[in-house]
Amino acid sequence: MSDSQRWLSKRDFMRVAVAIGGTSALSACLERTETPDLPRGTDDPSSLPPRQHAWNQFLERDDHGNVKQPRHHVLLYVDYTGDTPTESERETVEAAFTSLERAYQRGFQGLLFTVGYSPYYFERAFDSGPGGVDLPTPEALAPFEDPTPDDPDAVVHLASDYAQVVLAAEEALKGNRGTVNEVEVTGFGEVFEVRDRRTGFIGDGLPAENQDVQGIPDDEPVPEDAPLFMGFKSGFEKNQAPEERVTIQDGPFADGTTQHISRIRLHLDQWYDQDSRSQRVGKMFCPAHAEQDAVEGPGDNLGNDSQLGSCPAHTEEDARTSGMVGHAQKVARAEDGERPVILRRDFDTTDGDAAGVHFVSLQQSIADFAATRQAMNGTDVAENSAVGTRTNNGILQYLTVKRRGNYLIPPRQYRSLPAPNPA
């Protein structure tokens, strides 16, 4: 073992391994930790749910019933190399996915994945958008941002509690491994070409162990028990859209969903060095939470609900009288009835040695995401109050959106190079 590996803690090591990727990272990973004895997957695809994004039933829940996201993630950005998909190309891709499903059980202790296709894919391959789904090319969603549009043909999202699993699955798809978990696998062959990989993690302890990056002060301020860099727990059961709500209900892609992925840079020097705990609570949740000191540590005491109560309804009033509005308070204004319309599956990253977030969000239509993001911009609030474009305006001051991408995640039966009107 090299010196640089010796001082890395096990968790840190796993994160670094996922970030580096490739077969060498994988073998280092396997060498260092006992290969977990993982159950095999299934030979019977029909036993799996028709929805690719049906993950929640395969994920662990915490004591309060909140879904826990898998700890390690890879986003594999690929381009389709052909002109118009052929049956044999579809079979190659489908074989790769089914072989992964044979190798690993679907779940946080095995593997979870989705594959989504961009509007560029449909235009390039078929000169037409996907049937029954509005899939716009990505655009800026705030007046003060200027993101680069991501235009790969497809993105595979791999997730597991085990770093080894996401790495092995990635290598299998790339055709670099013949077996994983003692099961024979096949890759994408020539059908897809990898153009980018983005990696990350979420879960108690991981952000604290990986905070030696740009965007976070040097004195290691991220709390040991925080699941995310900003120090708070996110994704309470009551503040997530149910999977059903984000599922496309009819048309050729019924049982599919849309996916928005933003690449966000975090700037937490001010957050940790200059804001007080009370200001952080107020800016993340709402001023009332700060006044009542309602959040303990990362927020486990909140249970399964961020407990916003009348905060969202008071957003404008808070802006006028408190000079500040909270992030959760603002976005909750985009709720449909009781719950948000987006299902967040975001995670932190140290890609590029900078603190960031890969904000993966699922929703019935991209318009649902845009509406939620508009609520988060709080432009309406800023125009009529002491709150600034970014200053005291939730957490806008601490993040910059660098890239955005939109994808359609088809139902499982059409996940391999779908035509605009499959079936």
């Binding site: 640089s4 705030a142 007046p143 003060f144 941002e145 200027d146 030696d212 990056v213 740009q214 965007g215 002060p217 040097d218 840079r265 700037h267 020097d269 001010q270 060095d273 200059q274 804001d275 007080s276 009370s278 200001q279 107020g282 800016k283 001023p287 802006a319 006028r320 009288t321 408190s322 000079g323 500040m324 140290t350 040695d353 900078a354 432009t379 800023a382 125009e383 009529n384 109050s385 002491a386 709150v387 600034g388 474009t389 970014r390 200053t391 005291n392 806008l396 001051q397 601490y398 910059t400």
Partner: protein, 354 residues
């Protein structure tokens, strides 16, 4: 990760050596004096002369001709300041690895009107991002209204500052109506040289410190964000009163096309002594006539070529004897440097009779 650590380690040796040396020459004996210098013991709840005022340096100004605006980037020693949320302030002391204080400002080139719009600053070295953040809107006696923060740079040398803003969110009127609607960006190159930074002049105000008053803004090449003199404001001045040590000049315009041909109430709050603009407030107003309320609404922050940054509303025709009350719903949400941190918090309503 490791490369950066190496740079950092190297950089902080240089910086701390220089810093320690400079502190000595300035007469500061301890690190804590620099971090969080003593405050005058008798600070009033008003604008006061700080114990020490520091000179600013100019790294550069750059015009964006297509938008008719000019950006500027200035520097000084790392500074203590207070951030503001609501009526709470939070003291921000200088961090041991802060290298300098960077300040940015943006104004309409022709009218020299300073624009209230959050500025993001990314510092690059050889095309690689070193640090990035959204600057705090700030008020200081030597700079006036600007945006800024303390920064830690890995080393002395050549850097590029990428400054960017979104559209101005305040309502705009007159010739500003269709201006400042786009995102704007510019880059200013600068050389971080600790000798330069720490050679900036530093003046102790002696017995004056802690007394009510303010020194004049010192930057000559650029506007400090001053509001027009009372005599230069259009319309009929129906009152000027002080609240929380800010001066509120209230003007009434019978009719003007740029305010929708309606009777318009313009409230122009400013700092005492230097007339610096006070954006990021929530103001509302009522008009009471013969015991009944004829107007009760918020005033909208507005950027006008003549009034500059002010708060306005269409109130209907005022009559002699009307009572106009302006209420401060939230004080200016700007970070404050020494001398401004006790003013503009407790701001009672202002009442004037037409």
């Amino acid at each position: 990760m490791k490369r950066r650590d190496a740079i950092r380690a190297g950089g902080s040796i240089v910086a701390s050596a220089t810093l320690a040396g400079c502190l000595d020459t300035l007469g500061f004996q301890t690190q804590s004096a620099w971090r969080d210098p003593p405050l005058p013991s008798n600070r009033p709840d008003a604008v006061y002369y700080p114990a020490i005022v520091e000179e600013m340096g100019m790294y550069g100004m750059k015009e964006v001709p297509a938008e008719g605006v000019t950006f500027a980037l200035m520097f000084s020693y790392p500074h203590r300041f207070w951030t503001v949320t609501g009526s709470n302030k939070q003291r921000v002391v200088v961090n041991s690895d802060d290298s300098l204080h960077l300040m940015a400002s943006l104004w309409d080139t022709e009218s020299q009107t300073v624009l209230p719009v959050d500025i993001s600053l990314e510092v690059l070295n050889d095309g690689e991002s070193v640090t990035q953040r959204s600057l705090w809107p700030m008020l200081s006696q030597t700079m006036g209204f600007h945006y800024g923060d303390n920064f830690s740079l890995p080393d002395e040398g050549q850097y590029t500052a990428r400054l960017s803003v979104g559209p101005v969110q305040a309502r705009r009127t007159g010739s500003f109506e269709s201006r400042f609607e786009n995102s704007m960006e510019t880059e200013i190159d600068f050389e971080f040289d600790t000798t330069n930074t720490y050679n900036l002049d530093l003046r102790r105000l002696g017995t004056k410190s802690g007394e009510r008053g303010a020194v004049e803004p010192t930057m000559e090449e650029m506007p400090a964000g001053r509001t027009p003199m009372e005599s230069a404001l259009p319309g009929e001045i129906i009152g000027a009163a002080s609240s929380g040590d800010a001066t509120f000049v209230i003007s009434y315009i019978e009719t003007a096309s740029r305010f929708g041909d309606q009777s318009y109430l313009a409230v122009s709050p400013r700092t005492p002594y230097n007339r610096i603009m006070l954006p990021l407030m929530s103001l509302s107003a009522t008009v009471v006539r013969d015991g009944s309320t004829v107007f009760d609404d918020i005033l909208t922050e507005t950027l006008d070529p003549v009034f500059g940054d002010h708060y306005g509303g269409t109130v209907g025709q005022l009559q002699s004897g009307d009572t106009v009350t302006v209420t401060v719903d939230a004080p200016p949400q700007m970070s404050r440097h020494d001398g401004y941190e006790t003013a503009f918090f407790d701001m009672p309503p202002i009442e004037v009779t037409v």
